[in-house]
Amino acid sequence: MSLIAGRRGFVMKCKRINKLILTDYIDGNLRGDDLKEVELHLGSCPSCRALAQDLRGASKLFKGAAHQEVPSEIWYRIRNELSAAPVRRNFREAVLAHVRYHLSLLKPAVVMACAAALLLFVLAAIQFMPYRDQPGTTIAQDDILAISYTGIADEEDGPEYDFGTSVETFFL
């Protein structure tokens, strides 16, 4: 009686282990005690061992058939189909997404180099830019400097400034 009960217990265990072999064991998901239990059982059960071996073999067959090359003409067919019936898009969003995408393609190093070059260009431009009168001012800066260095400019040395009348101020 105990022999039959023992045999039944072994078969029950076999069924449970079989389920694990067919899924988590063969896919390498088992860890710790579960893994030890399955490996211990495989050591003593030829039927489960044969199942595990067959599964590994079948898995190897699938791996041999992986990586199917996609025929190149499929992309051209897709493009033709899409260009024949273009999808309506929001123009503003389309432009923004287009710009964002193409900016994302830029490498960080290239972006940094461009930013540095732009900064240098701006600094150089500021350094060497000749002075221009600001709009709205009535006296040129050079002339003010000339006045401040020489006090009141002599008639022989420089231009004469006379802002005494409103007419002159208006035309300056």
Binding site: R56, L61, H67, Q68, R79
Partner: protein
Amino acid sequence: MAKSTIEAAASGDMTAFEEIYKQCSQTVYTIALGITRNRQDAEETTQDVFVKVFREIKNFRFDSSFGTWLYRIAVNTAINVYRKRTRNGGTSLQYDELKDTRTVAPVIQRQDAERHDASKRVTALLDNLSPEHRSCIVLREIEGFDYNEIAGVLGIPLNTVRSRLKRAREALVAYCRKEGIRYEM
């Protein structure tokens, strides 16, 4: 897949969409070939999938991974194409037809022949499964997806992934034993 690429494709940028195609087409094609087991159907499926993706990508909300979303479209489209063909009494063609290898180097010829042999066996194995079990096996064995990814792509609970894989593998092993298919270990 970069978010900016998906957004650009969603706004109609063909360069960005081509980038998506380059990154995902091989997986889509392999899934389609695994489920339909027919090159012509796999090509048709791949084309349909990317046309659908281009039209629907503007509705993608980044709630799940883009790959999960795209491969779910691929699995559903492939199952539909397969069912349509079997309803119309179509026959299953070879998974991998023999190529003309006369002008190819001997090493490549041997590799091609080995691959062809493996492909023929895979065709025979997959023929014994329903499209649902087949898609599970293709995602796991050929594409190497883990259980969570398979659950996401097929839209089924994790335990259903386990039970489908179990039944599919039982069927595969039974077929191999019946046909005397041997594997090099």
